[in-house]
Symmetry: C2
Subunit: 201 residues, 2 copies
DNA sequence: ACACCCCCTAAGCGCTTGCTCAGACAGCGG
DNA sequence: CCGCTGTCTGAGCAAGCGCTTAGGGGGTGT
C-alpha cells in the first residue's frame, strides 16, 4: 500500500505527507483530472477543507509530486553517468536503476511521466527543464561509448530518445502482480539497451 | 489540421464525423476527463446538444475512436506478420509501419493508447481483447525468427513487451514540428528492433 | 399545398467540482 | 487562568459539468 512512503519521508507535517501520498495513489489510478479533492482528502482520512491548509490548490499537489519524482529519477541517472567503469557498464547501470525505480515506484512514476500536461504553464516549463537534464545524462553516456569505440550508433539523439522512451514507459504497463519483478525488468532492459547502442558483447 | 480525415471517411452523417474528429483532437490535447462536451461541439461548429443526436454519451465517442484506432493498428501488424520474406524483414516492416502510423496519426494514437482507462468497464474489456491480438502478432514474428535461427532472444515475452512499448510510446512524444518525420522515425525504430532481437546483420 | 422526418438550437436541470470561511479544539507559554 | 497559534471540520458558494427537453426550420414525398 504505502510502498512509496520512503520517498516522502521528509515532508512535514504528517498530515501534509498523508495528503501527498493519497494524491499520488489517486492520480496514478484515475489521472489528475478524474481525481477530486474530496477523494484525496478522504484517502488521507480528512475532510475536504483540510487539504487547503497544507496546499493552496490541487495543482500544487501535482507540482510537488512531479518535482520530487523528477529529482529522484534525475539523480539516479546522474549517479550512473558519473560512476566508474566503461560506457557499457555505466549505460547498463543507468538503465537498470532507472527502470527499477520506474517499476518499484510505478504509482509515483506514472504521475510523474504521464500527468505533465495538467501542470500550470510556469510549473510545466520548470519541469521540462529537468527533463532536458535527464535527456542530457543519457546522451552523455552514449556519446562516451561512441567516442571510445564501444558503441555503434548511427543516430545518437534518436537512439537516446528511444532509450528514454522505452524506460519511461515501464511505468505505464508495470503491474505489481505481474510475473516480472522490478529487478528482472531492470536486467532485461539493461541488456536491450546495450543491444540498441550496438555494443559488441 | 484534418490530417486524420481519411481514417474516419466512412463515418456518416457528416456532422457525426465532424464531432468524432473534433473529439479526437480535444482528447489528444487535453485528455478525456479534461475535455468538455461543449468543447467538442464547439470545435465541430455545433451547439452542445447536437452531440447527443449522434452519440449517446461522451464515453461513446471515446469508445468509437478507440475501436477504430485499435482495428487500424492491428491490421497494420497483421499485414506484416502475414507478408512474405524472412522474419527479420517482416519484423522490420511491422515496426516501420506501426511506428509510422503512430507518428502520422499521433493525435488518434495518443487517444487510443493513453485514454483506455476512461472507457466503461465492458468497453474496456473489449478493447483489451484487441490489444492481446496486437501482442500475439508481434510475438508470432519474433518466435518465427527465433525458430529459424535468425534472432537471438533470451526472453521472448519480455522482449515483445518492450518492442510494443517502445513503438506505442511514439504517440506520446512525437511532434509534427520536430526534426524527424514519420518515415525517419519508422526507419530508425525498425533498425533498433532488429538489434533488440539480436539479428545478425 | 401539406404533413413528415431529420437535424439542429436555446434554455436549463440536477449534480459535482475546486475552493472558502466561521468556528471548534488541543497544546503551550506566561 | 488567559490568549495565542496551528490544525481541523461542517456547511456551503459560484461555476462548470454531462445531459435533457421543447421547439424551430428546411428538405422530401405525395
Amino acid at each position: 500500500m504505502d510502498a512509496d512512503a520512503e520517498e516522502w519521508a521528509d515532508v512535514t507535517p504528517d498530515a501534509a505527507r498523508r495528503l501527498l501520498t493519497a494524491a499520488v495513489q489517486a492520480f496514478a489510478e484515475r489521472g489528475y483530472h478524474a481525481t477530486t479533492t474530496r477523494d484525496i482528502a478522504g484517502r488521507a482520512g480528512m475532510s475536504p477543507a483540510a487539504l487547503y491548509i497544507h496546499y493552496r490548490t490541487k495543482e500544487e499537489l501535482l507540482y510537488r509530486i512531479s518535482g520530487v519524482g523528477h529529482r529522484l529519477a534525475l539523480d539516479i541517472l546522474a549517479r550512473s553517468r558519473d560512476g566508474g567503469g566503461s560506457a557499457a557498464e555505466r549505460l547498463a547501470d543507468a538503465v537498470r536503476a532507472f527502470v527499477r525505480w520506474h517499476a518499484e515506484h510505478h504509482t509515483t512514476a506514472r504521475v510523474v511521466q504521464y500527468e505533465l500536461g495538467a501542470l500550470a504553464e510556469e510549473h510545466h516549463a520548470e519541469i521540462v527543464g529537468m527533463r532536458r537534464e535527464t535527456d542530457a545524462a543519457v546522451r552523455a553516456i552514449v556519446e562516451d561509448g561512441v567516442a571510445a569505440g564501444e558503441f555503434d550508433v548511427p543516430d545518437v539523439p534518436g537512439t537516446c530518445l528511444a532509450l528514454l522512451s522505452l524506460c519511461v514507459d515501464v511505468a505505464r504497463w508495470f503491474r505489481e502482480d505481474g510475473k516480472r519483478g522490478p529487478e528482472e525488468v531492470g536486467d532485461l532492459y539493461a541488456g536491450l539497451a546495450l543491444r540498441m547502442v550496438g555494443h559488441r558483447s
